[in-house]
Amino acid sequence: MMPLLTTKGLSRNFGGLRAVDGVDFALMPGEIRAVIGPNGAGKTTFVSLISGRIQPSSGMIVFDGADITNLPAYARVRLGIAYTFQITSVFANLTAYDNVALPVQRTLTDGRSKGAVHAGVMAALERTGLADRAHMPAGQLSYGHQRLLEVAMGLALKPRLLILDEPTQGLADSEIDNFIGLVREIAKSATVLLIEHNMPVVMQLADRITVFNAGKILAEGTPEQVRANAQVQDAYLGTTP
């Protein structure tokens, strides 16, 4: 099977710092891939390169067989790469409804009916459990709900690849359980690239795990393989898994 996404020698420098350093990476369609690693390992920078938010210093990105390295970010979104921000970035002054209507209306190619937007918005809000807050300004939602709104916006793009950057940060335990169910459901129709610090979430969701350290891939494998990897334990998990 052909990978959905590959990177070759992908690098990004910030001044003298090699935040992402020659990363070769491949992602199969349909999988849930977790990316873990210590703070500052380059995870956010890596997915930002994929989404086109920042430009690589060198290297190449291939999505669905096409070289997208030089494509602007909005065009990558149109190809099906959706990105949810690590630092919550919703439209604070717009209602939750309008926040989701923006991605929904963009993906509607057929018909101009108001009904289609409305149905799409409510579906995305219901999947994330925000339907009863549709008409609240996003800035007045609790932090956890804003994180979910981010996910709803990503969902509404009907992505082929959904990148989630620490989506459970700030969620309560009960919300995390719902969230795990939500990601499983999303994964039925999309490939998921999940940056996550919460190890129980990673272990439950991930088909495979990629471990980043100092801008490089330190290890990659199934959750069991990664858990057993001594280097990973040194770098990240601590000595007692």
Partner: protein
């Protein structure tokens, strides 16, 4: 931007149009003439508001779009002897084309740089008008002859110098632009424009091409301002370089701030308010500009969202 109550919003806007229509029959001559002028200039303010209020792009050069319409229409009548509708269309085309070119260049910048770049382009436009004095009349300007300001519709010909015809023409233009603006801001495109104002980075990551959406907004805004300028030339019969000066780039900003940025009716209210404050105070004192200045400062201090913006915030959340 809420989904609710579209009919309420449309009813309010139609009500305003009906009210302006009715006023034509009751206003004394002086105010009748003034209101016609205010409606034409409110169109200028509405065009400005689309870009400043909804997209959040602060231009200090919109006088060039107004005067592109003004000169485009005026010179077409004076030098080419075009009919009123053709001259109006020429004004619109000049404004649209200019806005496209300026947009392509100025949108490479943002924030303060955008303000400065638009101001510089407007200054160049102003100097070109002065330089081409042989055609434009330089700083004297030109009078559009009364004989040419006649709108021929089938068998009837309407002299645009007639106060009622002038008032009604201004009202028709105002109403069309008001309803078009309302339609735009309630549309999907309007939602994208507000999204760009609120969070450009996020809007981009939802798959929107920021540059082309902004460019379209500049062109629509410039064309509306040109419509105002073209109407001004044809209805009031004067084409002058003052309208291209920096003062006329700042006025629409003041009108919009006063009435309420990003409200559809704010531009009318701001223009109306400013004209009448000037009118009333200049009757009492020659230092009326001082009073106007103080009134503006007080408004900005206590009603930073403008008149309608404050009303919307406190009482009428559904106002578009």
């Amino acid at each position: 931007m809420k989904e609710a109550s579209p009919s309420k919003a449309y009813a309010l806007h139609l009500g305003v149009i009906v009210l302006l229509f009715a006023l034509s029959f009751v206003l004394p001559e002086y105010h009748h003439g003034l209101l016609a002028r205010i409606m034409v200039l409110a169109v200028f303010a509405m065009g400005y508001n689309l870009l400043f209020g909804y997209v959040g792009l602060l231009s200090l050069g919109h006088a060039m779009f107004f005067s592109a319409g003004l000169y485009g229409a005026g010179l077409a009548v004076i030098h080419l002897g075009w009919s009123v509708p053709a001259a109006f269309a020429a004004g619109l085309a000049c404004g649209a084309l200019l806005a496209l070119v300026i947009g392509l260049l100025a949108l490479r910048t943002s924030g303060v740089a955008f303000m400065i770049v638009t101001m510089m382009f407007a200054q160049v436009f102003y100097l070109v008008i002065l330089y081409l004095a042989a055609w434009t009349g330089g700083d004297q300007g030109l009078v559009v002859p009364q004989s040419a300001r006649v709108l021929v519709l089938g068998d009837t010909s309407l002299g645009l110098t007639n106060p009622t015809v002038r008032y009604m023409s201004a009202l028709v233009l105002f109403s069309i632009v008001l309803l078009v603006t309302l339609g735009i801001v309630r549309s999907r495109y309007g939602r994208v424009l507000v999204a760009i104002r609120e969070n450009e980075e996020r809007t981009k990551m939802l798959g929107y091409d920021i540059f082309s959406n902004k460019l379209a907004a500049v062109v629509v805004s410039g064309t509306i301002c040109a419509a105002s300028g073209a109407a001004y030339a044809l209805l009031f019969g004067y084409v002058g370089s003052t309208f291209a000066s920096v003062q006329y780039s700042i006025l629409p900003l003041l009108w919009v701030l006063l009435g309420g940025a990003a409200t559809t009716l704010g531009p009318l209210i701001g223009t109306l308010f400013m004209y009448y404050v000037v009118d009333v105070t200049s009757g009492y004192t020659s230092a009326y500009l001082l009073i106007v200045g103080i009134a503006l400062i007080l408004l900005v201090l206590f009603f930073p969202r403008g008149i309608l913006g404050t009303i919307r915030q406190r009482w009428l959340g559904w106002l578009p």
